[in-house]
Symmetry: C2
Subunit: 372 residues, 2 copies
């Protein structure tokens, strides 16, 4: 039997090399299989993030489609903990969320958890978390969500709507449960212990407000699943439908680690980076190249461990044929890292040029997106 490295995945900590298949077992989720993809394909072409197994795990999405087909549409809910600037890893699930909004033509509630980040980050003030939230909102808007059907909110600003539901959720969750799911200990502050109630609220609020059973689908990183496992457990007791989930893998780091982390700026590309910064960061990225050009020509590179290839796989080469060709050329030693880095730099900068333009225009659009 192969020995496996230990790894940890919680909403606040990712440690070790993640075995995503093992996570499906550990969390008790289901795989997004071929059959489910075929169901989705009825509404629009399959998104590369689905085809490539990056959105790979789910809870109850078949039930959601059953309901949708009966004329009972769901709404989408996703979120962001505003503790800094936005990088490409943050955008990935949101790009997928926009795809879902487009093909299903549904509402989206976008939660900015300024309270969470304030409570969990020792040195972050609430005022700073809110400032980040408004900056992050520009990136969200820049992705082009439907302004008629997208409702962005900060926890502290919409708390009047959220709190009555949050305490209903909190009443159903014991300290035992929170400790078991999130690994809390005695030194956790009492705000962090309460917080999961706030993250559950958007999954229930439309049902609460309308008095109807309105299904909710949450596209998110699989590290966020613990929150929604708890939310799903308490839903029936509160008379709400259990939220469905679509889980993605975590976006790779330029330095070859598992999750792009905001704490190492050189392995992260922010949406506000200049072309020069992108060039420098991609230039220093970890690749699957050999020690010398000669060796690489002879033996070929290794795309499977290459951050540059992963970037193409996750976000920057939507064309499966081109991606396949890139991989084959690399393996055959026909393509060197310099070329890949140059091409990726160009692709990222092309994307960022448009994004940054839309991000600036978003400053005037905030009012159209804020939840009322």
């Amino acid at each position: 039997m192969e020995e496996k490295e230990e790894f940890t995945v919680t909403p606040w900590e990712v440690k070790g090399e993640i075995d995503y298949d093992e996570l499906i077992v550990r969390f008790g989720t289901s795989r997004i299989d071929r059959k489910l993809m075929e169901r989705i394909e009825k509404y629009g072409p399959l998104h590369p993030l689905l085809r490539r197994g990056i959105f790979y795990s789910q809870r109850d999405f078949n039930r959601i489609l059953d309901e949708y087909e009966k004329g009972n549409p769901f709404y989408l809910y996703t979120g962001r903990g505003p503790s800094g600037k936005i990088h490409l890893g943050h955008l990935m699930p949101w790009i997928f969320t926009k795809y879902l909004q487009d093909i299903f033509d549904v509402h989206l509630y976008f939660q900015l958890t300024d309270d969470e980040k304030f409570l969990f980050k020792e040195d972050l003030s609430l005022e700073k978390a809110r400032e980040y939230a408004y900056g992050n909102m520009l990136d969200i808007i820049a992705l082009g969500f439907d302004p008629e059907k997208t409702h962005i909110f900060l926890d502290t600003e919409s708390i009047e709507k959220l709190y009555p539901i949050a305490i209903k959720v909190a009443k159903k969750i014991t300290f035992s449960t929170a400790r078991a799911v999130f690994g809390f200990n005695n030194s956790n502050n009492i705000g962090t212990i309460f917080y999961t109630s706030m993250q559950a609220v958007p999954a229930f609020m439309v049902s609460e407000w309308t008095g109807k059973q309105v299904p909710c689908v949450i596209p998110c990183g699989i590290d966020q699943d613990p929150h929604f496992r708890v939310a799903r457990d308490v839903a029936p007791g509160l008379g709400y439908p259990k939220p469905s989930l679509l889980h993605c893998k975590l976006f790779p780091s330029l330095s070859g680690g598992e999750k792009m982390s905001s704490s190492s700026p050189m392995s992260t590309i922010y949406t506000t980076d200049t072309p020069k910064e992108v060039k420098k960061k991609v230039g220093q990225a970890f690749t699957g190249g050999r020690v010398s050009v000669e060796e690489q020509r002879e033996l070929g590179g290794n795309p499977d461990i290459c951050a540059v290839y992963q970037y193409n796989y996750y976000l920057f080469e939507e064309d499966d044929e081109k991606l396949k060709k890139m991989r084959e050329e690399c393996l055959a030693g026909e393509r060197l890292c310099g070329q890949c880095k140059m091409e990726l730099t160009e692709k990222i900068n092309r994307f960022l040029e448009g994004h940054q333009k839309r991000r600036e225009e978003a400053r005037k659009q905030i009012d159209n997106y804020i939840m009322r």
Copy 2:
């Protein structure tokens, strides 16, 4: 050494016979001594609840008066957990709070903790807690607080103002601390663990809103002290002044127990009771009378264990001379329980007649008192 019965006093549980002197030691508070009473007397005649040692314990009230004398006025903060109808025991500290508002001419913030009662009472819905809150508000207004300087609010309705401060408080309180102070265990729901942060907020909010160090005085039952001990501990780290406290003993039960409890209606007089109900309840009260009239005439009664005497002592005989005479007549066997019960029934009914009238008029005054 005298053996003492064990007793417990927390905001949610009072068990055993309370030794109030021991509580001062246990909680680390100070006695309201003669010298402090003389300072208060400069602003108005001493309230019977002070003279008689019912408001008997304090934290930092001398500092508050120092500041007041330097022209830095404090504000008052008290509250109510709306889990049912109001009885006379609830009114007692509020009557004292009005006295303080009158002699010092200060603002009062009155918190109705609908979230607390919902979280701590298994069978209470949030909707019902809010309904109680609005009923309780009528009793508060009926006491005649200054509408220009009194600000009543429900936690869930004013949460937009309260929550940002609550999470600042929560960030400073570990689960360890909350467990040690309130006796929480693993089966407590995570809302109850967070809740003390909400009760701390009114002690800080005026300082937060004005950006100044505005002193706060909290008149309350001594069972509420644990909340404010925690609030005082976190205040300096948040840049707020520590709130001062004035603690009262718990109002006696008609059945002779320590605290008038809403769970035994016959030992409790509600503000909405009819004269007939009052007569019946007082008629069945526990007294210090003897088994027969003859024995009582011969040996005298015992006012110290008598609920009827306690009612006079706490609220219904403000005249010290009359109270003294009542006590002496009882001890001497010159006064029988029937007479005391009849007199008390009359006093309570006279009070309730006026209160109920003002309580009805209060329905039209809510707008003048709600916090904006």
